[in-house]
């Protein structure tokens, strides 16, 4: 089964038809959940990145900041995936030819990879190397802000 066929069968599934039959405010609700998840994920990364870049909260050890924000990152991601699925399912096929849709998933992959490797290493260090901290902050922020931008562009193309 090709990806397009998969998307077609998702869109014609009973769940997709059920979601499609709901009031259009359902979609607004799902988008609000998506925005909530985005705020949780991005603002927790922003907070730790400001520290990594030496631009704010530099007096707090990065381990402490990471400890008090990482749950917010994962809960945010959970909300994003769940609401994202419910936005995707009723219109699956229409996303297939959308370049921004695929760009978004490449950026999510890279963002997660950076988070689980470089970011995890740096934020677990007692005193991370300054340059490594700077590079991690820039990389993690650019990738996840890129995800947000790509996501916003999907709806217009």
């Amino acid at each position: 089964m090709s990806i397009l066929e998969l998307f077609n069968s998702i869109q014609t599934s009973a769940l997709a038809r059920f979601i499609g039959s709901l009031n259009h405010l359902y979609c607004a609700f799902m988008e609000l959940v998506h925005i909530t998840g985005m705020l949780m994920l991005l603002s927790s990364l922003l907070l730790t990145s400001l520290n990594l870049l030496g631009l704010g909260l530099s007096n707090v050890p990065i381990q402490v900041l990471k400890q008090s924000t990482f749950r917010l990152f994962w809960w945010g991601l959970g909300l994003l995936i769940l609401s994202g699925l419910f936005i995707f399912i009723p219109a699956a096929s229409s996303y297939y030819p959308n370049d921004f849709f695929w760009a978004k998933f490449i950026l999510i992959g890279l963002g997660l990879l950076t988070y689980l490797t470089l970011y995890r290493t740096v934020t677990n260090a007692v005193k991370p190397d300054k340059w490594l901290a700077n590079i991690t902050g820039v990389l993690v922020l650019s990738l996840w802000l890129g995800v947000a931008f790509a996501g916003r562009f999907i709806g217009f193309f």
Binding site: L32, M38, L39, L46, L57, V60, A148, F149
Partner: protein
């Protein structure tokens, strides 16, 4: 000139038409509006959660608020400027929506809450801000801020849904 007439002029202006019809500029500005939201409301929520004693309660409030203030104020500036541009692009349709005025009302109330907090508590932050559990009115200001900004976001996201049917 009424509000509706002014909005029609903005809507039909070169800037309004250009933004509305642009392929990349409009979504780009919407993207910036979201980034501004993350900087402003996203970071402000951490301050509010500190006021409630949930985020970094071991740290004095000033040590959370002061380093974040320039970022969240820049975020509000970015959200405000991009918000004006987004309004101009759809002014004629937006100005007739009650939900738009609800959004502005919630923003005004959130602003008043912040102003009250600054005047009543912000100036002598070092004298009370070190305690993990803060005075009731301070916590109330935190809850009010969280609630009002959430309502601003909800009202804002509903604008296209209630406007373009």
């Amino acid at each position: 000139m009424s509000l509706i007439e002014i909005s029609q002029v903005l809507n039909d202006s070169e800037l309004g038409t250009g933004l509305r019809e642009s392929v990349y500029m409009f979504p780009f500005i919407e993207g910036l509006h979201l980034i501004g939201l993350t900087l402003s409301v996203g970071l402000l929520f951490f301050v509010d959660l500190r006021l409630l004693g949930i985020f970094l309660p071991q740290l004095p409030v000033a040590q959370v608020l002061r380093p974040l203030r320039p970022w969240l104020l820049s975020g509000f500036a970015l959200t405000f400027v991009t918000g004006i541009l987004l309004f101009i692009a759809g002014a004629a349709k937006i100005i007739v929506l009650p939900i738009f005025f609800f959004k502005l009302g919630f923003i005004a109330l959130a602003g008043l809450n912040a102003l009250w907090f600054e005047l009543k508590w912000g100036r002598k932050i070092d004298s009370w801000g070190a305690a993990p559990v803060l005075p009731v009115t301070v916590r109330l200001a935190g809850v009010t801020s969280l609630t009002l900004w959430s309502l601003v976001i909800i009202a804002g996201r509903l604008i296209p849904y209630l406007g373009y049917q």
